[in-house]
């Protein structure tokens, strides 16, 4: 049942679902994903707003007045998952590129790859969920021997030793019935990252404003979590877009030095920083 990586980029849905019509693409949404994952379609060429508009129209058509059926909801949630990832992917590909030297392009590509990998990961789980569905379906038709214990054995089971007082019993009930988590309407699903690019930008600004140029290596010193390093890198790109920092690199893949270049920096600039990333 092992699957080759190739197999996961094939469309899995029946063509009946959500379809997209774009300038250079017309077909099922899933096929669109397949093309992007196969890199046969450039993500920057895809208008996400058009895709989103079409999807909303599609959902409205599904709404029969009694709300959506579960297929519709499944599709809606799938769309959101993928759209968020596509959005990230697109942002990464639209980040400033013009004046960057090759090494940054490489690094940028890595940031994109990370998002790309997440899209792949999502699709892998989606694919394999079919295996789960098939397994559960097949096993539901199997019959296991599960019969009442013969009376002669039932009667000879050891007598129960009951040691609990009434109050102990009530305490146990209280313990078991107390919800362990306070239910909240989480915003996590809106893809709020625990690592904030804004926070990382603030950290970088604090270091660089002292005047001395620092290498990227120095800037990420002490950051052990890959996500933090990525966020710090993205923060630098954002600062670069705001003309707050300059880069210097003597050779490809060599040490990257970051210089503070802002003339009129105001910490309020931080507030809008990284807004494109959904913070």
């Amino acid at each position: 049942m092992a699957r080759s990586p190739e197999s996961t980029v094939e469309p899995v849905d029946a063509p009946a679902g959500f379809r997209v019509t774009l300038d250079d693409f017309d077909g099922p949404f899933d096929l669109l994903l397949s093309l992007i994952t196969k890199r046969e379609l450039d993500i920057t060429e895809v208008s996400l707003s058009v895709v989103t508009d079409e999807f909303l129209a599609y959902l409205r058509a599904l709404d029969t007045g009694d709300g959506y059926d579960s297929d519709g909801l499944d599709q809606a949630s799938e769309f959101l998952v993928v759209a968020v990832t596509l959005l990230d992917l697109k942002i990464a590909s639209l980040l400033p590129q013009g004046e960057l030297v090759d090494a940054e392009d490489v690094a940028l590509l890595e940031a994109r790859d990370l998002l790309f990998a997440r899209l792949l990961q999502y699709r892998a789980f989606k694919e394999v969920s079919g295996w789960f569905a098939a397994g559960i379906e097949a096993e539901a038709h199997r019959h296991v021997r599960s019969v009442r214990l013969e009376d002669q054995y039932r009667e000879t089971t050891p007598e129960l030793k009951w040691t609990l007082s009434l109050d102990d019993f009530a305490a146990l009930a209280l313990l078991a019935l107390t919800p362990r988590e306070i239910p909240t309407v989480g915003l996590d699903h809106l893809h709020a990252p625990l690592v904030s690019i804004r926070e990382q930008a603030a950290h970088v600004v604090a270091l660089l404003r002292q005047g001395e140029p620092l290498t990227f290596r120095q800037l990420i010193a002490g950051a052990e979590v890959k996500g933090v390093i990525v966020a710090r890198f993205l923060a630098l790109l954002e600062l670069y877009r705001n003309s707050a920092v300059g880069f210097e690199q003597l050779e490809p893949l060599g040490e990257l030095t970051v210089r503070w270049t802002a003339e009129n920096w105001n910490d309020e600039n931080l507030v809008n920083l990284g807004a494109d990333y959904g913070q």
Binding site: T156, L160, A176
Partner: protein, 200 residues
């Protein structure tokens, strides 16, 4: 919750020709709780009573080791007008020991907590218990049923979910005469956990 797979399917009327009656019968005997009458079995497999009777005799001999195979650890016996598989009596002691170790005299913490949930929330479905306890409670419920501490109260006609309630035995163990004597626990819980019920 409803059993889509069985309800709208046509009942099995007889077995395909290539399947031997003995094989179909032994399969049926593996899953049934109650002794099965020859007539009922004949109608289930769609073969004449005479043929089914002969097949059962063949199976009895087979399990007894008279057809060239080993004498099985189980046997087919006619009890109360029907046939059922029982542990062969030579092996009673082995099985008794086994059952003994599977049913220790003390309930586990998990079983006690589940029992407490049922006591305060009865009648309650297995799914609702599971969502409160956040664990699979199937085997615990079976243990409690086996111990006679809970029993099936009713089956929801819509969802098919069995609801459980506690028995007099639990009240005896707790030394109370009525469930009203259970100490009150925080009234907030009556509302709070309702939301979990829609899981099933």
């Amino acid at each position: 919750m409803a059993s889509e797979t069985q309800v709208d399917e046509a009942p099995a009327r007889g077995i395909p020709d290539h399947i031997e009656v003995t094989r179909a019968l032994e399969a049926i005997f593996m899953v049934v709780d109650e002794p099965q009458s020859v007539v009922g079995l004949a109608s289930a497999v769609g073969r004449p009573v005479k043929e089914v009777r002969a097949a059962i005799a063949d199976l009895v001999a087979d399990f007894d080791g008279l057809n060239g195979g080993p004498q099985r650890g189980f046997e087919l016996r006619e009890v109360g007008g029907g046939w059922r598989i029982y542990v062969r009596s030579d092996l009673d002691d082995v099985v008794r020991d086994f059952v003994h170790t599977q049913n220790p005299s003390k309930l586990s913490q998990a079983a006690l907590e589940t029992l407490a949930v049922i006591a305060y929330k009865q009648p309650i479905s297995r799914g609702a218990i599971a969502s409160i306890r956040a664990v699979n409670v199937d085997s615990v419920v079976r243990t409690l049923l086996g111990r006679g501490l809970i029993t099936e109260a009713f089956t929801d006609s819509e969802t098919g979910a069995i609801h459980y309630e506690t028995t007099d035995l639990l009240m005896v163990q707790l030394g109370i005469n009525s469930l009203d004597e259970l100490p009150k626990i925080s009234p907030l819980l009556d509302d709070g956990s309702e939301g979990f019920d829609d899981v099933r």
